[in-house]
């Protein structure tokens, strides 16, 4: 049935007439494709995945560059860099980063990396690439909606990028955009037109995310090939499935929060505003609640961190299993823990709000639920470690990044147990401890998962390999650099050093870290250039990389490696293969691996 449906969808997709799918198995399905329909308004999930990835890479460079700029300020608050004035004019008057500019950089760094890179770039790339290929479908349930999803993302990107160039500057109230700061243009120049553009862009982004997410869910539930039961799906697909559910259920809440903010800004409503005297001006608003916004924001904001980390977990599970030549340990426990994380993700948002004056009794429940999340997370870590135990490990760059992911996830996950406990959070809230925690556990970890995915599936995406030597250099500098940057920040946090300060010279309690700040900045510049090297490797290898010569270069069991080296639209030239077993038969019965397409042998050992 599935094959039949898929076939129909495939023909529906190409409204191009006289199109016939050839079942004789030689060659790809062809119809005349113009440059525009192939590379720009493409409905092929693989091309959309590449579009998401490349857009994500461009955003990552921009967001990373912002962090280098504000790290310069943190390390050298009294020095002048004339080159900054050359590029940024009055924002860096006298070669020094101005406070408004600093806060704009911090805000954009957060927004861009959380939403545009690690949500759009990560889910968009790998959900699009892998769902049809690994579940065995010719394309997404609605390739047109899928195309729209990318183009809404693109539009959101354009609006966000344009906000960087408005005269009063882009949004600068932090990536969380708490009102009243974000609601009142009088309170901050970044809360003028820049904030409206920010909200507009984010609204478009939510639309993109919903169009994508619904498509992923429907495709996974309805379009798996024959024999592909849910429990035979690779963990990558389970991970993006739960990610999509999280997004579909929580992004609308964020959108509603943003729309109320837009009303408060432009239509004189008082959803979030009350009792405000700003710059000597008494505002008429009464009865609103600034805390309401925080509830709406974090109802997405917390699931958002799982939206970022779950796909990375899926990619890592797959890459680890393939390169250990061993089944992933505890497949059902892995699925179960993903499910548990998904449920709990909706029930912990207020742990970001322990010190907002929220009722401490309510806070107690959020402590309990938050620390509960550590259980499924711990299960996953133990299962990954057991997966490599007694394996026969190949250290491809992808595998190294997968191991790095687990290391980072442990380090950052454990500090979550600190911050989730409200008692400790009183002291550490909004300090560098928080910065260290979330950068390690969702920033660096998710990037490692993404890198593992890119190195592993690059041959499928472009039919060529990335350069390995550059890959190894990339991994080792990034791993060491990430720890050097973020580990010492825990100590700054323990000292109570607040986030989002651009100069500590005024303070007697926080000014003891100037050497450390210099070290962190130098390392982050090195790490940034290492990422540029990866970007170079990426684009160079698309055109000049070593060519892939075998269909299944990693010796993997999953369906994407049964397609031609450069699959056309529709993925398989002939019938979609039928699946007979789960995705992790590595090292079974003395065989290196058994593809999912191979029928069960009656003499096989059961697992």
């Amino acid at each position: 049935m599935d094959q039949h449906t898929n076939h129909n969808v495939h023909t529906d997709v190409h409204v191009v007439h006289e199109h016939h799918v050839d079942h004789d198995g030689n060659g790809h399905h062809h119809h005349k494709e113009s440059f525009i329909s192939k590379y720009i308004f493409s409905q092929d999930h693989k091309m959309i995945a590449r579009q998401f990835l490349i857009t994500g890479i461009i955003w990552a460079i921009v967001g990373g560059l912002f962090s280098v700029l504000f790290r310069l300020q943190l390390a050298y608050p009294d020095e002048s860099f004339p080159i900054l004035e050359t590029f940024f004019g009055r924002w860096a008057q006298g070669g020094q980063i101005q406070p408004e500019f600093y806060y704009a950089l911090v805000t954009m760094h957060g927004t861009v990396l959380v939403f545009f890179v690690l949500t759009g770039g990560l889910s968009g790339t790998f959900a699009n690439l892998l769902i049809p290929l690994q579940a065995g479908a010719r394309d997404m349930a609605s390739p047109f909606m899928n195309m729209l999803s990318y183009w809404f993302f693109f539009l959101a990107s354009v609006v966000m990028f344009s906000s960087l160039f408005v005269q009063t500057g882009p949004a600068s109230g932090g990536w969380t955009a708490y009102p009243p700061l974000s609601a009142l243009g009088q309170a901050s120049s970044g809360s003028k037109i820049g904030m409206d553009l920010w909200i507009t862009s984010m609204a478009l982004f939510v639309v993109s995310s919903l169009l994508g997410g619904l498509n992923y869910i429907v495709t996974i539930l309805n379009m798996r090939t024959k024999g592909m039961t849910m429990t035979r799906l690779p963990l990558t697909i389970w991970a993006v499935f739960f990610t999509a559910i999280l997004g579909v259920l929580s992004f609308p809440v964020l959108l509603s929060g943003f729309i109320l903010l837009l009303f408060d800004r432009n239509l004189g409503t008082s959803f979030y505003l009350s009792d405000i005297v700003v710059n000597g001006q008494i505002l008429p608003n009464e009865g609103g609640s600034a805390i309401l916004y925080q509830h709406l924001f974090w109802f997405l904001g917390h699931p958002e961190v799982y939206i970022i980390i779950l796909p990375a977990m899926g990619l890592v599970s797959e890459v680890m299993s393939v390169n250990s030549r061993k089944p992933v340990f505890g497949y059902m426990a892995m699925v179960g823990s993903l499910f548990a994380i998904t449920i709990l993700a909706f029930l912990v948002w207020a742990h970001h709000m322990f010190v907002t004056g929220m009722n401490p009794f309510l806070g107690a429940f959020f402590v309990l639920l938050t620390l509960l999340i550590a259980i499924p997370s711990a299960i996953k870590v133990f299962n990954w470690i057991t997966t490599i135990w007694r394996g026969n490990i190949r250290f491809t760059p992808a595998m190294l990044f997968a191991i790095g992911f687990v290391s980072m996830f442990i380090s950052g996950g454990l500090t979550g147990i600190w911050l989730g406990n409200s008692t400790i959070d009183i002291h550490l809230h909004d300090t560098y401890f928080v910065v260290a925690h979330f950068h390690i556990v969702m920033g660096v970890s998710a990037f490692f998962g993404m890198f593992a995915g890119v190195y592993h599936w690059f041959p499928k995406m472009f039919g060529r390999y990335l350069n390995n030597t550059l890959g190894y250099i990339h991994f080792w500098i990034t791993l060491a650099g990430a720890y050097l940057i973020f580990w010492p920040m825990h100590y700054q946090g323990m000292a109570g050093v607040p986030r989002r300060y651009l100069d500590f010279r005024l303070w007697t309690s926080f000014n003891q870290f100037s050497d450390l700040n210099k070290m962190i900045t130098i390392v982050s510049i090195v790490v940034f250039f290492t990422q540029l090297m990866f970007v170079f490797n990426f684009f160079y290898s698309i055109f000049k990389g070593r060519k892939v010569r075998t269909m299944n270069p990693w010796g993997a069991t999953t369906l994407e490696w049964t397609t031609p080296i450069n699959p056309g639209h529709g993925n398989w030239p002939g019938e979609i293969p039928e699946v007979h077993r789960w995705a992790y038969d590595y090292g079974k019965d003395g065989r290196d691996f058994i593809p999912q397409t191979e029928p069960l042998n009656p003499n096989e050992t059961k697992h």
């Binding site: 710059n279 609640s289 026969n392 400790i424 250099i473």
Partner: protein, 353 residues
Amino acid sequence: MSTTWIIIALILGFLVIFQIAKASEYVAILRGEERSRKDTNRINAFLLMAFLVVGLFGVWYCNEKLKGKILGEPASDHGERIDTMIWITLAVTGVVFVITQVLLFWFAYKYQESDTRKAYYYPHNNKLEMIWTAIPAIVLTVLVGFGLFYWFKITGEAPKDAQVIEVTGKQFNWEFRYPGKDKVLGKKYFKEVSEAKSNPLGQLWDDPANHDDVYTTGEMHVVVNKPVKLVIYAKDVIHDVGLAHFRMKMDAVPGIPTTMWFTPKFTTREMREKYGPDFNYEISCDQMCGAGHYSMRGTIVVESQGEFNAWLASKKPQYAVANPSTVPALPGATDTTKTKVDSAATAAVSMKR
């Protein structure tokens, strides 16, 4: 100029690395891909082990370098509880950190690809899964238990005898109000706020409780070993009263007053003797509040009851500042007729202005 050189050096360095990387690909093909793949595999396995050793040493070294720079002894009773909780959590997470990181990197090294070994087909073991579900669950229950025990102590009702002080955050400084002899803060309304009328908090002068309230900015005075309860407001955007030495923190939200209380343990003088003459209890704004966020600094002077009383007595109530002509005698009396006269006078004054 130096910037240009740095950029040139970076580009050159990059080109060199790139050429080596490209060459290594050709060399790999010449030497036989399988063989060179195995060589790099061994190198990376070794590096993983090295990273573990160097990394654990780095964790120790970082601690040696920085442990003297984090805050010393907590300066409040709540701070002690929070530090105890941090130590308990550090012990638990520290053990887990070392065990899991060692296993991860050690297994990666030990089970690197080798021709003599076959991967062990080991898809699941429900008993193991049960064990490592149950153990974290038990440990976390303990942590939640301790955490909530302290949490309710810290966030519980302030003692009755606590000194009440009102704190108001605005872009970009702190304002304080002390109740006078009546120990009651008078009513206020934000639409009455007026710097021109010397009424920065919008106090309602017809509330007699307001007549002895003292207003200051920048520096807050509290009494050592006496509970202090802060009632926290914000005028414009969200701020946060961050008291790192006391380990306390609470947001200041426009329209929604919040509270926190604690008991300071050491006077500012005692702390200066311990940590040097530059020491100050600082109030940091810990919630992003605009371009001046990083400079929103206040200080706290912890002193004896006697010093505090003398300091407070030296301050003129804001009522007297705002209404200089009408208050010959100190107000604070509960005489209602007098209050009416006062408010009438206030109205007259404000109309004149």
